[in-house]
Amino acid sequence: MKILVVSLFLFLFLPVVTLAQESEYNVKAVLLERLTRFIEWPEESTVNDTSQSFILGIIGKNPFGSILEQVYSNQKIKDKKVEIRYISKIKKIPGCHLLFISQSEKKALSKILSFTRGKPILTIGDTKNYAEEGVLINFYFVENKTRFEINESEAQKSGLFISYRLLNLAKIVNQPEVKR
């Protein structure tokens, strides 16, 4: 049975995600929640306090328009109400559980990341090379389908726990050294 499971993992690489007949950001908006299903915040994080809202921050130019509000007016994340924050200054990042970094922040990325690095803030972007530069999850588009890549080394540093299920589905960037 073990051999079977192992062989099964070997075959699982980069499955394609398709969310039919949705616009690109509709899909991405929904995907944000889906991704959180397979990610655990550290115990001390306020994410685990159900009395507080889940803080979804967007830094830079908002590509979602009003989609996020539409999607998360009813949809909960981690069984919590969702509060959407549009962040214009880096200083305002603390308190965010999830931070979507817009394409517009490409130049300020290293600054933002220096702020988030090592903290349990799930950074997500959809810009080429974001993952390589340190964003934890980065959407990309190939063969008409939205996929995502994960910077596993940064993810480990952040203290967030990403399920192997998600890792199996993602393209891994910057794989960490194998722990002994």
């Binding site: 049975m1 062989s7 099964l8 699982l12 499955p15 394609v16 398709t18 969310l19 299903r37 589905l169």
Partner: protein, 785 residues
């Protein structure tokens, strides 16, 4: 079952053991198989559930990200599991999300409700498992697995078990085959011995018994039977011997006749004796010689064989084997055919082999043989009769055994009685052999002498309980009793702890059928008795001594009183005499007061005199100084005299007096004393009777005269009756102070009646109603001198 009965014991035993083994093993195996099949099925269900869970897990992310292709690719991996034919994943709303069908097994996906389930249906197992991750339900997975592998597994299992069953049955068979010998072996042995006995007619065969089980009993029975048969056979053999002897006798008679003796070779007769000619009916030897034996025989023998050929065969046989004996049918010269016994003996005469034939005409013998046969039948009847007698004797023997058993039972009962008597006896009982060794003893013996049974049994009794001082006595007693004497005596014996005890001992031989077989002793512990006896003797001696002293004292007292009384009476007589003279006025006139006072002096002096007279009488009697003076008189006179002296008092009290005396009753005794007694009774009766009557009666019974004085006075209390005849007794009564009395009256009466008249006194009374005093005296007192 009937055909089973004809099988040998061996087959039956093996069959039964096998049947039981197969039943037991079969039941066990069936249970194991059922259990195993259940386990196989459960294993398969569990495995399929595991697979469903696993593949459900794999499909979570594809379902989360709605990646149908990815899910399909994952399901495709079910290919690696050979039993799974179909795998379907449904989304949350129940729509098919991804599917896998093993090639050639495509089916229409069933609608599912998402609850976990497993169900065997035909050759397939259906498993449904919801897909859940972190409380979020993503859909349902359904697997359809073929049971082909399970069936195969079950089939293999069944085959293995069947082979094992066959193997075990085989082992059971071999074991049964081995172990049945334990039972069938001895039976087969018995069967073989029986066969051997019937073949060889050897009835001395016995089988050796190996155990005390039923087969042992069977062997005993067999041996018993053989014993019986051998006995019967012995009887029969004796009868047969008798038969043979008588046959011998007849044969000797027969042999006295001449036999034909012929010398011949293969071809012709060479020589013969005269008897031959006589038997065959030829006048001259020349006529007979030169012939071939078949020529003096009929063409064919009685068995239908050709005479010529048969004759040649017999001759050849005789030449080959030296002799040949057979019966032959011959023909005389006159054509008459007769049976014969032929003995051919080969001999060599002058280097030539010839045959000597002895031909015996057995015409007569055949007849005799017939007789013999009849005779034998007669003898056989005799044998039968004897056998019958034997059976009767056996029955008689059995009856005797029954009787003896009954006697034995009685004896046992008798023994039980005696044993119980023996054990419960209050005396110590011991049984010894003639040599004095202890054979048996009872519990009282153990208690009395302190020896245990183990110590006592087998020891010499005299060593056990005779002390040094009494050892010789004990040994001599044992010896005497062993010679048949019965001895009862008292002696001293010793306990185990050395203390001595007085015993009363009975030693006696036990004689059975006039033969002394043992002796027994019965011991009673009389130590206490002896002590008591000794004490009693000492006490008696003391008492006797005291008695003698008392008697002497009594006698001295009586003598003193007798002489004193006499001395007292003389002055008293003077007082009475002179007072009487004064009262009569002989000494001059006296006034009324003086007269009254003198009257009192006179009365008191009279009373004192009476008292002294009584005392003197008693003293004399007690001192043995009174002599009986006998005379012949009529009772009537005595009674009249007594009545006349109290007549005035009776009249004063107005009492009725009744006198019932037989006329002319004569007595020869002391009249004066008798009168004194009667008077005493009468004056007492008048004294204590205020009204009513007094009855005096007398009768004679067997030489004794009984005088009864009955009154209707105050009577006597029961507790006073015994004191009544004692001296100086005046009973407590209402009349005590109004009546005069010395208190010696009845005492004196008793003394007189018993010591002088040789009679006795008695009284009957009921208090308040009256008393009856009786006096019984012999009609005649024999002069003792």
């Amino acid at each position: 079952m009937r055909f089973f009965q004809n099988f040998s014991i061996k087959s039956k035993l093996i069959g039964i053991i096998l049947l039981v083994s197969i039943l037991a093993i079969g039941t066990g195996f069936t249970l194991v198989i059922i259990n195993n099949i259940k386990t196989f099925k459960e294993d398969m269900v569990n495995n399929t559930f595991v697979n469903a869970g696993l593949f459900g897990e794999y499909c979570i992310t594809p379902m989360a990200f709605e990646d149908k292709k990815g899910a399909a690719e994952i399901l495709q991996k079910l290919e690696a599991i050979p039993s799974i034919m179909n795998g379907y994943v449904y989304d949350e709303s129940g729509d098919l999300f991804a599917a896998y069908n093993k090639s050639g097994n495509t089916i229409i996906p069933p609608r599912l409700n998402g609850k976990p389930a497993a169900e065997f249906e035909g050759k397939y197992l259906h498993v449904v498992q919801p897909v859940i991750y972190q409380d979020q339900k993503y859909g349902t997975i359904y697997l359809r697995a073929s049971t082909a592998i399970l069936d195969n597994k079950i089939k293999n299992h069944l085959i293995t078990m069947m082979l094992l069953l066959a193997g075990l049955t085989l082992i059971s068979y071999f074991l049964a085959h081995r172990f049945q010998k334990v039972i069938s072996g001895p039976i087969l042995k018995l069967a073989n011995v029986t066969k051997e006995v019937s073949e060889k007619a050897d009835f001395s065969v016995r089988v050796e018994k190996k155990g005390d089980d039923e087969i042992g009993a069977l062997y005993d029975g067999f041996n018993e039977m053989m014993e019986q048969i051998q006995m019967r056979k012995h009887e029969r053999d004796k009868a047969e011997l008798a038969l043979r002897e008588s046959e011998e006798k007849f044969r000797k008679v027969f042999e006295s006749s001449y036999d034909a003796m012929i010398l011949l070779d293969e071809n012709e007769f060479l020589d013969c004796n005269n008897a031959t000619l006589r038997i065959f009916g030829y006048a001259t030897r020349e006529e007979f010689l030169g012939k071939h034996p078949s020529e003096v025989s009929p063409p064919k023998q009685t068995d239908g064989k050709d005479s010529r050929l048969t004759a040649d065969e017999r001759i050849a046989k005789a030449l080959r084997e030296g002799s040949c004996f057979f019966e032959w049918t011959h023909r005389r010269s006159n054509g008459e055919v007769f049976p014969a016994e032929v003995l051919l003996t080969t001999m060599e005469i002058e280097g030539r082999k010839v045959i000597q034939a002895t031909v015996r005409d057995i015409t007569e013998r055949k007849k005799v043989e017939e007789e013999l046969r009849k005779h034998r039948e007669h003898l056989e009847e005799l044998v039968k009769e004897r056998t019958g007698e034997l059976e009767e004797k056996t029955i008689a023997l059995e009856n005797e055994i029954t009787i003896r058993t009954a006697i034995e039972r009685n004896l046992r009962t008798e023994k039980a009685y005696i044993d119980q008597l023996f054990e419960s006896a209050q005396e110590a009982i011991v049984v010894t052999g003639k040599d004095g060794r202890v054979l048996r003893l009872n519990s009282e013996f153990i208690r009395l002498f302190g020896y245990t049974i183990d110590e006592a049994i087998g020891a010499f009794l005299d060593d056990l309980i005779a002390s040094k001082e009494y050892y010789d006595e004990a040994v001599s007693v044992t010896k005497k009793v062993a010679e048949g004497e019965k001895i009862v005596f008292e002696s001293v014996r010793r306990r185990k702890d050395g203390t001595l005890l007085n015993v009363s001992l009975l030693a006696s031989p036990i004689i059975v059928d006039g033969k002394l077989i043992a002796i027994y002793g019965i011991y009673r512990d009389i130590t206490k008795l002896k002590k008591a006896e000794k004490a009693l003797k000492e006490r008696s001696k003391e008492l006797a001594e005291a008695n003698i002293r008392l008697k002497e004292l009594d006698r001295l007292k009586s003598m003193f009183i007798a002489s004193m009384s006499h001395e007292l009476r003389t002055p008293l007589n003077s007082i009475i005499g002179f007072t009487g003279l004064i009262l009569q006025g002989l000494a001059g006139e006296i006034n009324a007061e003086q007269k009254d006072q003198l009257q009192r002096v006179y009365g008191s002096a009279k009373h004192l005199l009476a008292l002294i007279s009584d005392v003197i009488d008693i003293s004399k009697i007690e001192a043995g100084k009174v002599e009986v003076y006998t005379e012949e008189f009529q009772l009537e006179g005595v009674i009249e005299e007594a009545v006349s002296s109290i007549k005035t008092q009776i009249d004063d009290k107005r009492l009725d007096l009744e006198i019932i005396i037989p006329q002319g009753l004569r007595l020869k005794t002391d009249r004066k004393r008798l009168l004194q007694c009667v008077l005493n009774y009468l004056s007492n009766a008048v004294k204590f009777t205020e009204k009513g009557n007094i009855r005096i009666a007398a009768e004679e019974i067997d030489g004794t005269v009984k005088i009864t004085v009955k009154d209707s006075g105050i009577g006597i209390k029961k507790e006073d009756m015994t004191k009544l005849f004692n001296s100086f007794v005046r009973l407590d009564s209402p009349l005590r102070f109004t009546t005069l009395g010395t208190g010696l009256g009845l005492y004196l009466t008793k003394k007189l009646a018993t010591e002088m008249l040789k009679g006795l006194v008695s009284v009957e009374s009921s208090y308040g109603k009256g008393s009856t005093f009786m006096l019984e005296v012999p009609k005649e007192i024999r002069d003792e001198k």
